[in-house]
Symmetry: C3
Subunit: 303 residues, 3 copies
């Protein structure tokens, strides 16, 4: 509850982190895995496992929230804290994000956080989604998405925040912003991020139709940058990040920041109205009904 | 009459339509074709034939203004009224625009409306061109251009307003904004529409050179989305639109509107100055001479 | 010195040209090469040789500043004067820019103008870089880059200002904005120019990594428009420019100006702050050290 309350406050994660450090020992068990030499552990929770290799300056963040890394309020909060900690660690220059769950990178926003919940809860949830995007899209670290499974909706958004995307070449996996298929709408900063990645026309079509692309299609339109066999995703990410780290940090960071500034500023200066818009939209009866129908359909599919 | 009044209320076609409504009853016969079961007829004039299939919610608008569907003031007015009627009909969810004339989709703006005409006439004409673009580019319906012939200049603009473009795979057909070849200039919203479709660089080159692309080239640069044999254009459009209609209307419409808002607002807030600019430009002696030369050339080519 | 002083003044080249014409006879020997029939000579200096063919209206500007056409303050000043003279000559409608030096189009900004120099000097230098870009990117002439050698950094920028880019198909040549590799940052108008040419995503990756592309790669991403054998670059440029000159000048110029206006206005209204930013950045100890290291590396490579 403390975490959620912090999200509601104006200061985003700065306030959150201080609260977190003062109470975390009470609410969580700190995982202490056996560390390899030269590795420190930044893990804050069993749902996020971070391996940091001091010799390369690269951290690998494994998402391991069963079954499909849904982006719940709690998971997003932990994710933001992990990223913030790495960001503040001067020795960490690169971040690889990957999944510890089979067949899925992340299934996207957790519908349970938007279905039958109070406006306050929906608002706190949306603030956490914004925070995740802001943290990752504006990161000073080199960020690589090692997409070792399907990555719809919010999972696709997370991948698009990274500097480079490597996907497992498995035709059963898919990636895309498929919100309209659920009867909901990707907000303007999802749109802007996708437009920055694949251009206006492809985005217009992809978002209107809620398209999910298989890896070959995603590569063709530039939604991912590289395909590799499934068991080589992490290796490829490690090789690629070393090329990015060969560039002087300062020059690379300013360049990245200049290229993304306009898009980031747009959300920063419209953050509260974006939350209000989301809450008004998602709590509508028609949208709630639509979400209910979608979950019913998912249940039947599983059964 | 109610429809016409509605046009007047919004500002848009006001002056233009009032002229039209005061004389149209004298000059036109309303066509009453035999309707197939489940089809209603929205036709307002022999120059536009609309077939509406209530079972699918899809209307097909056939342009049949001989010889080449030139966008005259009269034709544009009828086109806007037809589209507006469909837009207001809740049961109509999709619109396919195609040509009833052989070998041409639309030859674009009717030069006769700009040559040797009064500034007032040119202004009224330009307002109708704007209105056509605004109506189609901001339509809540799924719009598909079934391009069954050549589509230069204004014809290309009309096609680009649609959500999806299917073109007949006949190498003798061409499509593009070729205004500079006539010594005139595509205005900023033509440019913006093309930039949204094929990107900045391709647009810069296409517009400076007034390029017309054959179907294969148009597909390559993304000016059209799909090529099919000439006799299958309408069938393909019908198949494609059913995929678009599988998406919940509300989510699709908001998405489309968000993606196009900035471009549409730009014309909306500069409409009068854009008309003034066009009128000043087109009534210049040098431009009139250029148009005269172009028409002379066309005449000789036909002879 | 008079030339450099002029760059420091607010009025850019307008003041400069008048000063230049009043003193040029004192400071320079006018080259008088044997002219072919129908050719006039616009050369202002041995570092720039301009051939103008009155029968076609096309000027060819040969950069011949040994060894690698580095863009020094002096060279940029001469380049701007040459371009300005051609711009003001009504009979000159097209400009081909090429290199008279072997294996290189232009090696980009002259590091000597930024290393160990006073803030005043760095500011004057940067104003000249801006002026070169403004002159070329807003030129009313058709401009073609005949890229007959490598073209990194400022050389790539110069090529990107042109309407069309033809490159020698020699895999040992490369082109790109590789500033980050030197620890420096391409300013916003370099970014904007590249984004206008190859799109947001490719630019983001190219600039962060400081990528240099070989001709085949450059063609693929759209950084150049055409590859030809090395000995045919100038011939191809002459053929291509004739197609561009077939379009009525007035319509083509307005179109070009409309497409580039926003990007040009952005630098025009931020010119002084951009200079200030550059001077502050480049005179930092860390950046000076970085440049020193780079030059040391170049020296060793040559030895």
């Amino acid at each position: 509850m403390a975490l959620r309350a912090a999200f509601r406050s104006r200061g985003g994660l700065s306030g959150l982190l201080s609260q977190w450090s003062s109470c975390s020992s009470n609410v969580r068990t700190c995982v202490s895995p056996v560390l390899l030499p030269q590795q420190r552990n930044h893990s804050t929770s069993p749902k996020i496992r971070v391996e940091f290799d001091q010799s390369t300056g690269v951290a690998v963040l494994h998402m391991q929230s069963p079954p499909v890394n849904s982006l719940s309020l709690e998971f997003l909060t932990e994710l933001c804290i992990s990223v913030e900690k790495l960001e503040m660690d001067k020795s960490c220059r690169g971040l690889i994000i990957t999944s510890g769950q089979p067949k899925v990178f992340s299934a996207g926003l957790d519908i349970m956080e938007m279905y039958g919940k109070s406006p306050e809860h929906c608002g706190a949830f949306w603030r956490a989604v914004q925070e995740m995007w802001l943290k990752l899209y504006s990161s000073n670290m080199v960020t690589i998405a090692a997409i070792n499974g399907s990555s719809p909706a919010g999972g696709c958004l997370m991948a698009m925040t990274c500097d480079h995307r490597i996907m497992a070449d498995n035709p059963r996996y898919s990636i895309g912003l498929n919100e309209t298929q659920l009867g909901i709408v990707a907000p303007f900063w999802f749109m802007d991020t996708m437009t920055n990645t694949v251009g206006q026309r492809t985005t217009e079509m992809a978002l209107q139709l809620g398209l999910l692309y298989n890896p070959a299609e995603a590569l063709k339109i530039g939604l991912v940058d590289q395909l590799v066999p499934e068991d080589q995703v992490l290796t490829a990410a490690t090789q690629t990040i070393s090329k990015w780290l060969a560039i002087p940090d300062h020059a690379r960071q300013i360049t990245k920041s200049m290229m993304r500034k306009q898009t980031i500023d747009k959300l920063r200066s419209n953050r509260e109205s974006d939350i209000q818009y989301f809450v008004n939209f998602i709590t509508k009866d028609s949208i709630q009904k639509s979400l209910g129908g979608y979950m019913e359909m998912l249940k039947k599919r599983r059964a």
